[in-house]
Amino acid sequence: MNLRTRTSLLLLPVIVISYALSSWWIYQQERGTLLELEVAKLEQRLSSLHSDYMAFRNFQDAYLMSLVEGDLLAQYLSEPDNIYRLRVLQRHMDSALKRQLSQSKPYLSILILNADNQQLLYLENSLDPFAEVSTEEIQFARQLRAEGVDKRSSVHIDSKEEMYIYQAITLDESTYKQPLPSQLSEALIVVVAIKSEGLLQSLDRLRNLYDAEIRYIKNNEKSLNTAGGLNFEFELKLSDLDSISFNVPRSHFDGVLKDLRLRMVLLTFLFALLTYLLLQSLVARFITVPIADLDSQLDELIKNERKEIVVAQDTGEIGRLAKKFQELYVRLTNSYRQSYKQAREDSLTGLSNRVAFNEMASRLFSRSLDIAPVYICYIDVDNFKYVNDKYGHEVGDKLLCSVSKRLNATVEEHNRDGRHQVGVFRLSGDEFVILAADCSKQEMTDCAEAVLKMFKSGFAIDEETYPVTVSIGLAVSSSDLSFSELMSNVDLAMYQAKKSGKNCIAYYSEELAQQHRRMQEIELELKGDRFDKELQIHYTPIVDAQGKLCALEALLRWNSETLGSVPPDEFIPLAESIGAFEKIDLWVISRVFKDFSVLNNTLPTVSRVSINISSAELNSLTFVDKLNRLAKYYRVVNQYYVLEVTETFATGNNEQVMDNLKNIRKLGFRTAIDDFGTGYTSLMQMLDYPVDVIKFDRSLINRIGQKGSAETARSLVNLCKLQGLFVVAEGIETKVQSELFNDIGCDYQQGYFHGKPALLESLQAQYNPQLSKEKIIDTAN
């Protein structure tokens, strides 16, 4: 329900009730007045009627008076037989009637009775010359005498509803004057009758008009008021004895009041309606319409169809309300903008955050990617953790801020003309993204290289340089790529850059993707149950200075049914990264332990067997126990085995590594550092570790193989020997190399020159063919 409807619904009953109450009050006030007025009107009508009636009476009186006083009657009575006297009377009657009454049918009669009540004269001016005096009139006259009254008036209504007024006097028969009381019985009685025309008809009309009841009261009988006080009674005095009672029932006035009520109801309704319409239009004009206008403006604001509320030139509440809404709206808008900004801005660096990145990306992705490819440059700060750890978080934060600032600057530098849609975002920690569209791959690459360049010689802040670089992945959208796929691609490229030694740019390519997919497949296989069955142990021969087989290195070979031959350097790091290394290590260890007696029997010159274990094992709390249990299970001679780890173990928990190394040695196993020369571990550091063997890596061998390095190498070997370590040279492929390392005092050598890794059976066949055959027979048995 809108305001206007509600206002209407509220106004209407209030107006109707107040008008109704007012009307009721006025009605109560006016009712009495109206009744009085009605009664007065009726009285006036009746009085008018009575006046008409009295005109007849007065005429009658005057006529009678003229008869008596003017001697006409006396003359007639003195000569009753003189017809001329009669004619005089008749003419007198005619002229009196014509003079006084203008009725169409005048009626006047005179009756004279003598002392014996005999009719002396009956003269009537009617249209019926044969008319006789009525018995009522005679009776009236006789009654007068009987009652000894000297004069009287009365009214008679005949069967035709005609009203006759009788007026009687008595005359002394000799003097023709009023008789003395004693002479009454002898007196003449003169009755003048006149017809009061119209009175009854008028009364009848009034009766119909007022629903009245008319009663004739004869001889002054007391009226019985049948309706009690509920009626209005009016009396018309007709004569000495007669009157008319005019009873108007109260219900008639109720009818009048009903009319009044009806009129008042109608007026009330009319006025209420007018007032309602007026009020409604005023309320609409000054209240509801401005509010509805404000409401619709607010609606439009909410729908963003308008920017502000237009405040009408109104200083009233609605105007102020509109102003307040406007203020509130501005405040809310600002607050919204702020929070909108906050939600999209990284609080530390002021760069846009991941939310903003996603928004921009989805905006760009909504366009046609064929026309406007989207570039993503994924930047990860290398070694940031190191800075954080070493210099503290404050410096780390400062570094991030600075990186952000310079990233922005660089991007702006490359987008000076503002042609490109480009944005710099900080996604998390030390990860940044440059998102760009409307630019070429070259421009993007240039920009990425400029970023890389910023870290060329570390990153300097406030004259301090921090050893951080960046790994940058680059990828471009294509129409068949979703945003998340593009993100995976660029992520992959960035990790590729990381993997490629950091501080470089890697472009996403199909090869990269294939490589990645292969890694994923390997990983899948590593986790699968076929993996154990597809593994094999190959042994590489290790020879002494005389070239005589004296030891073996067990190497893991994986011939996957689906992937083919997978080299260890492909799947071992992966296994390490997914935590599958222990399983593999223990499998290798138990496999080699299993070969112990065969080796011992078939290749008696072999006094040592090396097993590569993941350097991560050195951080394990359980590895030594497991190793011990396996050794006991296979009942091997622990001194027979050398456990090799790469120098990368040095990056782990040093104490744990040392403990594990010591415990391994306590069990009787020997330890070796494999691939020495590839890492950053210094020789001196290496010497502190409890190891028995140093294995020089192939790259080191190659370097030493160059002329001029031999002496350094010799010193290195001597140093190791002085420490009681055996030195093994790996990757010896030529006779020159073999002789060189023999020359500088290397204890043992291995490599293709001395024999390729092979299955145990092959080695047996190679180094002890005879034995080997027997063995075969034995095992066959």
């Binding site: 017809i83 009669l86 005089v88 049918k105 010359p129 044969f130």
Partner: protein, 356 residues
């Protein structure tokens, strides 16, 4: 009651006393008469050797009767009356008794007439009751009183009736074949009904001659109940075109006679008697009859007329008429009272209809 009048110029008021300036010092003799019912020439002749004669005019029986009743007040000496009045007032002692000793000229009057006027009055002029009509308005002369009471369309609303309580009823009673003087209420009632139904067609109940004197109203009048001789007056008033004719309907008429009487209380009885004697002198009576164009009761007067005059006046028709005509009789008071009521009612009815 019948009477004639010749001229009617002047006032129709009840009383108009014309006093001669010459006789200012001498009390004149007063004659209550219809207007112009006595030759001025004769008056002149009378006054040459007698007291002045002053005429007091009336134009209706009622007026006359009212004056006679109070005659002493009006100083009336001689009155022209009808035969019934002569008897009524005579017997009431109102008039001086007349006989040949004081009025020798009575010998010139037929006993028939002397009986009509009685011993208190001297017969004067006589006539019939009939219908005057415009010969240009009626195709045929009226032959019956019915022609007057139920008139043809052309004359409806153009009829004058007499307002006398006897003569108004007379045509109806004649048509009904009843006695003019009937005392029978039923007869009178029938007559009343006839008159009542006629009332629509009646122009006036005023005496036709009286009515005719009101300017040019005469043109509205086509038929009237009149006394014989009135047609002459009507023709005179109509410009002597001879359009008015008189007829006595076959179903009845009445022989009327006017009489002269002397008021008993008159202080000029001698002069009054002289006037009567003068008027009844045959030569005077003849002159008066010819002047009035009405027959005189003085049979000796014929000798003073030429034959044509006598013929026109109908002096010779008396014998014939005496056989078929009815005569007025004195009516009982009761009858008169009833008749008075009847004419009163008729006139009221007529008046009420006209006023509608």
């Amino acid at each position: 009651m019948s009477k004639n009048s010749k001229f009617f110029m002047g006032c129709s008021c009840i009383l108009l006393l014309l006093i001669s300036p010459l006789s200012w010092s001498i009390e004149p003799l007063r004659l209550l008469n219809w207007e112009d019912y006595l030759s001025p020439e004769l008056i002149e002749a009378w006054e040459a050797s007698n007291v002045p004669l002053q005429e007091v005019y009336f134009d209706s029986d009622q007026d006359r009767d009212a004056i006679i009743v109070n005659s002493e007040r009006h100083h009336i000496d001689v009155v022209v009356i009808d035969e019934i009045v002569a008897h009524r007032f005579g017997s009431n002692g109102k008039f001086l008794k007349l006989d040949e000793t004081i009025l020798p000229s009575l010998r010139h009057i037929d006993p028939f007439w002397r009986e009509r006027c009685g011993e208190y009055a001297m017969p004067y002029l006589w006539g019939t009751l009939g219908i005057a009509y415009r010969n240009d308005k009626l195709a045929l002369p009226p032959s019956s009183w019915a022609d007057l009471l139920s008139p043809v369309e052309s004359v409806r609303g153009h009829i004058a009736m007499l307002n006398d309580y006897t003569d108004m009823l007379a045509p109806a009673l004649f048509q009904l074949g009843y006695d003019l003087n009937t005392e029978n209420r039923a007869h009178l009632k029938q007559a009343f009904e006839l008159l009542k139904q006629q009332a629509d067609s009646v122009l006036t109940y005023e005496y036709a001659l009286t009515y005719a004197k009101h300017g040019d109203k005469l043109q509205d009048l086509h038929m009237a109940a009149v006394y014989g001789g009135d047609q002459h007056t009507l023709n005179e008033l109509d410009g002597d075109q001879g359009r008015w004719e008189y007829v006595v309907p076959a179903d009845g008429t009445v022989l009327w006679v006017d009489c002269l009487a002397i008021i008993k209380e008159s202080s000029k009885q001698k002069q009054s008697i002289a006037l009567l004697n003068y008027l009844n002198t045959p030569s005077v009576a003849a002159k008066n009859a010819v002047y009035n164009r009405i027959a005189t009761t003085n049979h000796a007067a014929v000798t003073y007329m030429d034959k044509a005059e006598a013929e026109e006046l109908g002096m010779q028709a008396l014998k014939r008429l005496q056989n078929k005509a009815q005569l007025y009789r004195e009516l009982s008071n009761q009858n008169v009272a009833l008749r008075l009521k009847i004419i009163n009612a008729i006139m009221n009815i007529h008046e009420s209809k006209n006023s509608n």
